[in-house]
């Protein structure tokens, strides 16, 4: 029992991984009918990765970013630009043609090669987050001020992105692309889908393990210390702003990776992923799953998206909007720990209470 409690989150993650690994096999034996469901679950893995990143900065460090959609979209666009050039064979795309460009613009040139593209998927969100984080955290902008500034930044980036439509195709985004491993639509391309799905799963496992590793040691304790008492951590001699910048950059890179995976499954990317609303949706996943636990972020991302997928495919889109608003509100007000918090406090509470009573007895005697 003790072991289950201690390893509970890892066991939980293991179950999720096994279930995910079974998805392509189930599709093969037609237990899952629509290929769109498989693609959707693939996207959920991307969402889980960005949720882990968000949890690292919000749940652990107490930095509430309302602009992670920006990094997600940057990673996604970097991937999409490479994939689009694969489709056109390195020539200019249709929207550039309409935008009046005669040849491939300089910004698009690096995306002709895959290694450079992958490097940029990590580098662009990372460097942007680094610059923003360095200045903001050095000047000790914190709490809600950071949230408001991140929101304004995202909005500004979104407007500029749409305005530069010959380069980015404005509102429409980059569409009609295949995955890195070739087309994944149709039954004859099932092999490609399988490779893509398992690569994404491996990435998810790596990110989870990495996050667990980081938070399980002194560094993780320090992040929590920053969240609970930033000034005290300063006075204890830690360069808080450096730690904050580091974790913020890391989280932005994770968002970039997630965006890249998302594009592969989705087959398109739009500036919609860059909006404030989308960024806060990511926060909802983490909040409902349980902030401050890595597994909570993963569960939240899967659960909320699955529910949305099930409900929105019917005529229940309206209901879903009301429901998600209400769920979010109630979670924030009454269940700060999200689903994980409920499980921890109610399922395992009796044991802990007993232990506390025993300790009290010992102290009294």
């Amino acid at each position: 029992m003790k072991k289950i409690k201690k390893q509970g989150s890892n066991i939980c993650f293991l179950i999720i991984v096994i279930l995910l690994a079974l998805v392509p096999i189930m599709y093969q034996y037609e237990l899952i009918e629509a290929s769109s469901t498989v693609l959707f679950i693939g996207k959920c893995m991307a969402f889980a990765i960005v949720a882990i990143g968000l949890d690292l900065i919000w749940g652990y460090t107490g930095i509430l970013s309302l602009g992670h959609g920006l990094y997600f979209a940057l990673g996604g666009y970097a991937m999409a630009m490479y994939l689009k050039l694969q489709r056109t064979g390195g020539g200019i795309t249709d929207f550039m043609h309409i935008g009046g460009l005669k040849e491939l613009p300089l910004v698009w040139k690096p995306f002709l090669s895959l290694p450079v593209s992958i490097f940029l998927i990590l580098f662009v969100p990372g460097i942007l987050a680094g610059v923003i984080g360095y200045f903001i955290f050095k000047n000790r902008v914190k709490g809600v001020y950071f949230s408001i500034i991140s929101q304004a930044l995202t909005w500004a980036a979104y407007s500029i992105f749409i305005a530069l439509s010959p380069y980015t195709n404005g509102n429409v985004g980059i569409t009609d692309i295949q995955s890195v491993f070739g087309s994944i639509k149709g039954s004859m391309n099932f092999g490609n889908l399988q490779i893509l799905f398992y690569s994404a799963l491996i990435l998810l496992i790596l990110v989870y393990a990495g996050a667990k590793f980081l938070t399980g040691r002194k560094f993780g304790k320090l992040l929590i210390a920053i969240r609970d008492g930033e000034n005290r951590t300063y006075f204890s001699g830690y360069q808080v702003s450096r730690y904050k910048t580091f974790i913020y950059v890391l989280s932005a890179i994770l968002a970039g990776i997630a965006g890249a995976i998302f594009v592969n499954f989705n087959g398109s990317i739009t500036p919609n992923q860059m909006t404030i609303a989308y960024s806060i949706t990511m926060v909802i996943w983490v909040a409902v799953g349980g902030r401050g636990t890595i597994i909570g972020a993963v569960i939240g991302a899967f659960l909320i998206n699955m529910c949305e997928y099930k409900l929105s495919s019917g005529g229940l889109v309206e209901v879903w909007q009301y429901l998600i608003g209400a769920i979010f509100c109630i979670t924030i007000i009454f269940f700060k720990g999200g689903i994980i918090g409920i499980v921890r406090d109610h399922l395992f509470a009796s044991g802990r209470r007993k232990k506390a009573e025993r300790r009290e007895l010992r102290q009294n005697s």
């Binding site: 000047n139 809600v144 930044l153 924030i332």
Partner: protein, 301 residues
């Protein structure tokens, strides 16, 4: 010369719109430290209220005195958003005092619900309010044209500002309000019902958003996302001005409004707005507290 005057007038007009939407925030965020993400949706409620009032009035009023609807719409919009604000404070905000980030997120949930409600009731298509007849057209002086509805909004803002000044600094309630915001335990010891003060303060802030909604309705079509397009600028105006000072918000809105219009001369209007926001963010690195700082020696301010 003509162009300069036009630019200045446009700047003044944009500033007044930003100011009108941020006045409510200056109270809920500035005084109460509650980040109300549903503020934009209160603006939306105000705008839709104007639309509904227009339709109701056009049912039984003759054509010639139709314009009365607008003067009825302003107090009605204030009343309705005041009520909404009061309910929201009772149900949600009052449970989250001292948890700023959580209040931000919870009100976002509310804003999702309100947006969907607007879509369910009024549809996804935008609706239009016809400006009352006396606000159509513009005042011509020399080569410049000043459109009446923009002049009207500027006066409306002035009226709201004066009203706010009297409520906050000259009335008995304002005294209680400032007392609670400055030193809650001490105010409670003096027998002030701080819960009631919180509730009414928040409701007034929301009511101002409703009035902003009335003026926004004059400027374009109304849909469920109308609030979102104003909220970012408003938050930045409040932060730039310095949280907790009415004068700061006025200055902040002015800076954002005028600089957006001036930048617009060189580039498109969306890029101009984005650039101004970036510049404001860079400026905030120099003075994270904003322009007007309330001096405090406390560490966690």
């Amino acid at each position: 010369m003509v162009q300069l005057i036009n630019t200045l007038f446009n700047g003044l007009s944009l500033s007044s719109i930003v100011l009108l939407t941020s006045l409510g925030l200056a109270i809920t965020f500035g005084l109460m430290r509650v980040i109300n993400m549903a503020h934009g949706e209160f603006v939306m409620i105000g705008a839709y209220t104007t639309y509904v009032v227009q339709n109701v009035f056009s049912g039984f009023l003759p054509e010639s005195i139709q314009w009365i609807f607008y003067f009825a719409a302003i107090p009605i919009a204030f009343g309705i958003t005041f009520l909404f604000g009061s309910i929201l404070e009772k149900l949600v905000i009052s449970r989250l005092y001292g948890r700023e980030m959580d209040s931000l997120l919870a009100t976002w949930g509310i804003s999702l619900i309100l947006q969907q409600a607007a879509r369910s009731i009024f549809g996804t298509q935008g609706v239009n309010v016809t400006a009352p007849s006396f606000l159509q057209g513009g005042l011509k002086i020399g080569g410049c044209t000043f459109s009446y509805n923009r002049i009207f909004i500027i006066f409306l803002v002035l009226l709201c500002l004066i009203g706010m000044y009297f409520v906050i600094y000259r009335s008995g309630f304002g005294k209680k309000m400032r007392a609670v915001m400055q030193n809650r335990p001490m105010a409670q010891c003096m027998g002030i019902d701080s819960r009631k003060v919180d509730n009414i303060t928040f409701a007034i802030g929301s009511g101002l958003a409703g009035i902003a909604g009335c003026s926004v309705a004059l400027l374009g079509s109304i849909d469920s996302t109308i609030g979102q397009s104003y909220i970012v600028n408003s938050f930045m105006a409040v932060v730039l001005g310095g949280v907790g000072k009415l004068a700061g918000t006025v200055l902040g809105s002015g800076i954002i409004g005028f600089s957006s219009i001036f930048t617009e001369n060189y580039t498109s209007s969306t890029i101009a707005k984005a650039l101004v926001l970036l510049i404001v963010i860079i400026f905030l690195q120099k003075r994270p507290q904003g322009l007007f700082v309330i001096k405090s020696r406390s560490l966690d301010e």
